[in-house]
Amino acid sequence: MSAEKRAGVYLCHGCGIGDSVDVDALAATARSTGGVTVTRTSRAFCLEDAELIASDIEAQALDAVVVAACSPRVNRQVFGFGAVKVERVNLREQVAWSHPPREEATEELAADLLRMGIAACGYASAPTPHTQAHQRSVVVVGAGPAGLEAAVAAADAGYAVTVVEREPEAGGFLRRIHRCWPSRPNVDTSLENPHLDELVERAVSHPNVTLRTSTTVEALVGEPGHFVASLQSASGATEVVAGSVVLATGSEPLASEHFAAYGLGTLPDVITSSEMEELARQGEIRRPSDGRVASRVAILACDGPSDDANLPYTGTVASMVALKQAVYVHDSQPDAEVFLVYEDMQTPGFDELYYRFVQRQRGVYLVRGHVSSVDQGEDGHLGVVARDSVLARDVRFDVDLVVLDIGMVPTSAPSLSEPVNLHLKYLQGEAMPLERSGFVDSNFLCFPFETRRTGIYAAGAVHRSQDVAASRRDGAAAALKAVQVVEKASTGEAVHPRVGELGYPQFFMQKCTACGRCTQECPFGALELDEARHPVINPNRCRRCGICMGACPVQVISFPDYSVEMVSAMQKAVELPEDDSKPRVLVLACENDAYPAIDMMGINRLQYPAHLRVLPVRCLGSVNAITVTDAIQRGFDGVALLGCRSGEDYQCHFIQGSELLGTRMDNVRETLGRLALEEDRVQVLETSIADARRLPDLLAGFAAGVAELGPNPMKGF
């Protein structure tokens, strides 16, 4: 450790550590290390003795503290001492609880982990937060139910909101909807008036809301806390500054070309569900061809084997639209007959109760199956032939009107002729990253607002397939994320998942080769290029994963408290015995999944080879190839990279981290080849947090494979 640092080392005897290793010997190791000002031991530092650490910090002016005790996953606040760097050395879960006590290998492991922790302290400086951007305002794009709800929510919370709507009036697609289905059909089965005008009025009359209709976003620059949106309307161009953005541009019906087989576009009385809303708004349902009141209507769910294009967009909404529209027909003509053809009735939750209500309506016939043809019959009727899967035969009915239940495509979908675009002036492109069907989403499960464009949150039908009530909830939720990111930006803190992190990447530009790789690999588009093609960071877009740091071929990127140098110093702190019977394997472990899984081996008292040295990293994507090749060149017999699943169902919290590792490994293999070393000495092992019971074998297997290769010939050079 560098001489100017003053560190305290605190070694705990508790929870079996004292029985497992010679704590006094470890204390002696600490004392003999440069920069260590004070060393203490305790039977349990997490109890009263935590105050000893606090008083040492004060009295000895320590700038770093090494707590060699339990895992960093516990007692986070007990061992939190303000701005003082705290390095946790995991002697409990990863030594005492997972290795045989008092054996030489266990003692060596503990000593190495301690040295690694002390080494890490030398490379951590207190970050200076980026606090320049603090605009307590939000731009909401789209004035449908989600956007209006977001606007009112943020405005009520004290934020200035500008709502941008491309149409001449607010309301979005809901303006075209006649009635909504009941949200609690177990209480009331009547169709609900969406009360759109009230929602619009609430937004428009709010002192904190400015509504700009017939306006589009032409460009968006900046970062959370300070975005500038260039707006364009008939009256000219203007700019709005906002701390964050809610994207609520809704959805539109899937293009009619996908429904040609049903006669849409050729038969005048074959209409779409949104056209049906228009008819219902006019009162009696009259068919387009001759204006006659429709008394026999077929509503086709379009969810059969040939409807692949429709299925991703029907969600839970389409079935309810069909049921609701059956009620429209009934309300228009009490004697009418409605044939509803469907494969699977997608009415989860309370919607089921509405389905049952409609089933009981006189004149409503539910036909389970799929449609084989729709033809113009004689005397103006349409003939619908369906394969009834219950009766296992074809059924035919003649109707006046056919309504096709058409899925709603998010306005962001690239398949649309003019997808909505915020025109982000980001190096990585103008469009928002999308999931496979075109929704603006990245991880819809645990963290529905985890976006790859920090500070821009999607809500409503552009986010996922959902109804009006759910869209409004989504709008309120997106407003919270929008408010939150502004508050965090004001203090320079990161948002999800490394919430509160202050340090952000710094660039040693003199050595930058302007290759641009960091700007391409950042999953969040945080980096732009200046005129010299050097990277420029937008700190509030950054999520602190360190992927840029892993990407840089010349290692010029580092965080104040996390860097290639720091990881390298930790690796170099591991003693590599020349004794061939003592191999050493470095394990670089993803902090969120692999590291806790290793901890849980300990919690379950499962054992793994004691010659492994676990070094947690923020993400495998933050591992620079040089870290791996340096370790091998130094003489580690093997390096395992333990991280999350990549690919379509990726589990990386930084989206691409484990994926990018693949390309980094190519460089590593090239170096190994140059050194005439076996490729198998370095391996990526895919793991998950639930793998505690699988890890002992996985790690032992890797260690055995390395052992078969024999000692690393580079050792001792």
Partner: protein, 441 residues
């Protein structure tokens, strides 16, 4: 989460938000609100957070472990001093009006104080083995236990219903840190909050109430939540799917959908998640026992939108079979002892009999607040779910307390409820006028 002492308030009152329930919805609501700068009191009745999701083996559709997302959330809690967590606690009463509520929290004794380091020394000498509720009784733990490896907070607790207390007290002597306190008393904590989020979640519907499905009658008839524990690596069978009756690997399983749901005699609504949960469990079964077959009996397969691709993939597996039709009976073959599923095959128009090793009942979701409702102005619908707060109210429901929903919807819902709660706070105590840089048109 506030420091070592879980009672940071010392009986004082404070404004902020009360979140009732520490499952995925409650955790999400608490964190999202706190990260926007609001004080949050999170009250959980059991000894640990995580709720039902902590008991799941995997989430659909990514087949990823729920503990992965929980770990991120627990990390956020550890770092956040604005979320005050109360475990083994229940909300007894909420009085007042939006912006000004007074809540009475009843905290049951944990019998283990905050000196607990989770070293486990107490558990070894404990003589009492009790059925483990985390595994739905399929395993046992000592009466003083950590719960499970991902327990948060990572502190032991005592099951008062089985502890011998002073007649034993071995754990008291075994604990090196003076953490076991068999004389800990119940306490009441008063909180003053501006708004409330109810996220009390769900419980599995009592499968024993559906007489024809023979749950409780044959040991090889289990519920979906039980199978989920078997599939979990930290469960009673360490992830293996074994027949409860004889411990042999399951070669064939029948998934009985709508066991209680969509049935006017039981739960009238659809529980939303069971179709996807069964498809997920079927694919996990085939991953563990590649020779096995999974047979799903359903009325409608509800796998809407984004989930369609997942369903298609699972159903394409040659060992996954489906029958459209309701299960009428579960019988036992008198000769082989094997279970036989009798179902009305709607497509074939005939009754079908299928012998299987294991029957999995997709028992539905029932709101937890069918019992133990706090005294508060909360409206419930006839099924026991919390009706959505009307405008002007200050108590909001999130997740499965509001409606039967999947995790993705619950987390979104919880974020929305947190925002609605914050609005109530801000209207009672407004922020300074916003900084606006909007040019005048």
């Amino acid at each position: 989460m506030s420091g070592r002492d879980a009672d940071p308030l010392g009986g004082a009152v404070s404004d902020g938000i009360l979140v009732v329930g520490g499952g995925i919805a409650g955790i999400t609501a608490a964190l999202e609100a706190a990260e926007a700068g609001v004080q949050v009191y999170l009250v959980e009745k059991s000894a640990h957070l995580g709720g039902r999701v902590a008991q799941l083996a995997r989430y659909f559709p990514k087949l990823c472990p729920p503990t992965c997302g929980l770990e991120i959330n627990y990390r956020r809690l550890r770092e956040n001093r604005d979320v005050h967590v109360f475990t083994t606690a229940e909300v007894e009463e909420i009085r007042g009006e939006p912006g000004h509520y007074e809540a009475t929290i009843r905290r049951h004794p944990r019998y283990v104080n905050d000196r607990c380091t989770a070293c486990g020394a107490c558990s070894a000498p404990c003589p009492v083995e009790r059925p483990n509720p985390f595994d739905y009784g399929m395993s046992t733990t000592k009466t003083i236990s950590l719960g499970h490896e991902m327990a948060f907070p990572m502190k032991y607790s005592i099951d008062a219903s089985t502890c011998l207390f002073d007649d034993c007290a071995k754990c008291v002597d075994a604990c090196p840190y003076g953490a076991v306190d068999l004389h800990m008393e119940e306490e009441r904590i008063q909180l003053e909050v501006g708004a409330v989020v109810v996220a009390t979640g769900w419980q599995p519907y009592d499968a024993g109430a559906i007489a024809n499905l023979a749950f409780g009658h044959y040991p090889d008839v289990v519920t979906n939540v039980m199978l989920e524990r078997m599939l979990a690596e930290n469960g009673p069978t360490a992830g293996q799917v074994l027949r409860p009756s004889d411990g042999t690997p399951v070669r064939s399983a029948a998934f009985v959908q709508c066991a209680g749901s969509r049935d006017r005699l039981h739960l009238g609504y659809c529980s939303s998640i069971c179709c996807l949960a069964s498809l997920k469990e079927a694919s996990l079964l085939l991953e563990r026992n590649p020779e096995a077959t999974a047979h799903v009996f359903f009325i409608d397969l509800r796998t809407p939108g984004t989930y369609e691709a997942f369903a298609t993939k699972v159903l394409a597996h040659p060992n996954v079979r489906t029958t459209k039709g309701k299960v009428a009976d579960i019988l036992q073959d008198p000769d082989s002892g094997q279970l036989v599923v009798v179902a009305d095959d709607m497509v074939a128009g005939a009754m079908r009999r299928l012998p299987v090793d294991l029957v999995v009942l997709a028992s539905g979701m029932e709101p937890s607040l069918t019992q133990g409702r706090p005294a508060a102005e909360v409206a419930y619908d006839p099924d026991g779910f919390v009706a959505e707060g009307a405008d002007g109210g200050g108590i909001f429901a999130a997740g499965c307390a509001r409606a039967p929903v999947d995790v993705a919807t619950a987390t979104l819902d919880a974020t929305a409820a947190a925002m609605r709660a914050i609005r109530v706070l801000r209207q009672a105590t407004p922020l300074p006028a916003p900084t606006v840089t909007v040019p005048v048109p």
